[in-house]
Amino acid sequence: MPSTFSEWCLGRLLLLLLLGTSVSGGNPADPAMTTQDSSQTQVNSVTKMQPGHESSGPHVATQELKPASKEDSVYEIVLSGAPVEKNISVASPTKVELICKLGEDSSLKNPQVTWKKGGETISHTTKTQNSWSIQLTISESSQLGSYTCILKGEKELTATFHLHVPKTEGREKPVITYIGDTAVMVCKTEYNAKAWTWYMTNGTELAPINTILHTDKFEIMRKSAKVSRLEIFKLSKKDRGVYWCEAVFDLGSSKARFELKVLSISAPLKPFIAVVAEVAILVTTIVLYEVYSKRKGKVNQKKTLLGDPSSSRQRSKPQKEI
């Protein structure tokens, strides 16, 4: 029936929404996602490569930088009033152009423009009619960071471009599993990662998972360059805690956090037994009520048949109707 189909499709929509929310679950303000600069010295060879070439690492033919315009790696912010910020993920060395454009409704005329990274000013800026841009070649992790353009006039307008390593998405909500079950943690990122590492919190430090757990106990599967999957078998209460997955890119790495909770089977069993008890009580009540009302009806019938003989004889005689 149509409503069942609508339900199917509403279900699919719910699914889409949930997928959307789970994908956007990576909170930019999550302090867990840090960028590590120092550990990437082994990728120095990449810094000499021209952007656009395929790196020696994972296949990066699909460079999805998601620029604002159709040309490669051009990012634009249109300023109107409030300060604007934009996050740009840079996975491998590339050339980037950042443009600050003045909005048409802005009252600012011929402002003084400065580009800053951190505290230092950048000098090679280009100016067109009402937009100002800088061209950057990102080849090292130290070149990532926040680039701000400041337009000074009667008012001061700012726009910031945050260049960072692509974020990895984990799961903010705890992963619930049961004793004896398998825990599955899936780590995703938008760009192809060169390598994946999984860590477990050992006290206050992070230790790679292969140093803590026996090889029989877990399995890391790399489904694709963008997805890594950790499975932990035969769970017990000791396995609960915080796990981290780290995606390694040319210019750095980023981490995502998972919290694993191991419950015993009795946890969902309590609400289940409560509902079953409610059903049993209701069914018994209804059946008893039915039996009671049937008995009462029979007694009433017997009374009407035996109680008044004359009326019963009249009733048993068929009615004459013309």
Binding site: M1, P2, S3, T4, F5, S6, E7, W8, C9, L10, G11, R12, L13, L14, L15, L16, L17, L18, L19, G20, S22, K173, V175, I176, T177, Y178, D181, V184, V186, M221, K223, R229, L263, A267, P268, L269, P271, F272, I273, A274, V275, V276, V279, L282, V283, I286, V287, E290, Q301, T304, L305, S312, R315, S316, K317, P318, Q319, K320, E321, I322
Partner: protein, 490 residues
Amino acid sequence: MASSRRARLRGPPDGGWGWMIVAGCFLVTICTRAVTRCISIFFVEFQAYFGQDYARTAWIHSIVDCATMLCAPLGSLISNHVSCQVGIMLGGLLASTGLILSSFAASLEHLYLSLGVLTGLGFALCYSPAIAMVGKYFNKRKALAYGIAMSGSGIGTFILAPVVQLLIEQFSWRGALLILGGFVLNLCVCGALMRPISLKEDCRTAPEFLEQNYVPETEKQDFKRTSICPPLIKLWPHECLCYCSWKEYDFLLMPGFMVLAVSILFMAYGCSPLFVYLVPYALSVGVSHHQAAFLMSILGVIDIIGNITFGWLTDRRCLKKHRYFCYLFAVGMDGLCCLFLPVLQSFPLLVPFSFTFGYFDGAYVTLIPVMTADVVGTSLLSSALGVVYFLHAIPYLVSPPVAGWLVDTTGSYTASFLLCGFSMIFSSALLCFARLAKKIKRTHLRPLTGNMGLKQHIWTNGAIAYSVTAELDQRDGEFLAVDTNSFSNR
């Protein structure tokens, strides 16, 4: 005893215990339809846990829907031959077992069987008998009762969807399925509520039947279609049983039912892709994800409103006689909306579409059981509903892939929406023509049959005088004459 028999032979109560039946059917709709919808919420979890892609996971939902609709005739068969209460309770136990077993699933195939086949079969055993039961208890307020009962799917989804999401967060999908299995056990409560009712037109032998004083016009069809098959509990010879089960499906050859069946095929074909492709279409014309979700929410809410208000409306005396036309008007309006959809290319234009389509979708959904009851009569309603929902299954399976293929080959949604719109308009036009043909046939036959058109037969059986006034065509008149002859010969 004649008096006790007469006490049992009464018309539909139109209230009293009937409202408990409506409440039971409402709960059945929540436990079957809304739970089926909420199974989709588990898909993200299944995908992540089993590492499969969306298409393989979505098979679970297709299997549940397919099993529910294909086994609908089985459900009505069991409830007719054993008892409605036993049928629904059995369905509840099966569905609950399916959900509980799937909470221990180790693979996706295990889920196909437990969550797909077993749960779907359990739902099928509950759904059509419960709806048929509502039809037995109501006559004057039938459409309103159905409206309230059917609104369970929309309301249930609103309540269950966040609850299921919460359960998954608290207990993971295994615990959530276990608890959902417990919840579905409430179908047994609904089964216990379905007190059987024996109506005037139910199966009785001829002398008993003729004891009745008056056969109302709405039940004149049942006079023709009395099945003389009592429940299996009574011991009947084997030949009679075979004859009975065949006689039960006698309505399949009725021209009125065949027309309804064909029109339902086309209607289901037309309406199903729309729900699948509304959101992708909206996204393709530039509507954002949140707005597209909002469109579907509007559809859902207005569906519920359409269910109840249209049910109430068609119960009004002025519209009751024209229920048939209200139904085909609702289907036609939906088809018209579909035809306009390719022109609507922005969110402010899609909102009124959602309103209109949702309202009329809820409207005709309420009227499907009412129409079926009008065509086949109340005694055969259970079997007929089983067949009607079975007929929904095939277009649902076929239509979205065909529409998807059309979208892929033509590159736009226009062709598939036009096909849906024309399919629904054809369905409504078919019903219109059938009614016109019937009217023309009647006006032709009336001068031919002459006196036989409007008959007043009065028999006396001892002291019983029995008059039947019915508008019969010639064939039925002969049937009546034969019957009275056989009776008078006894």
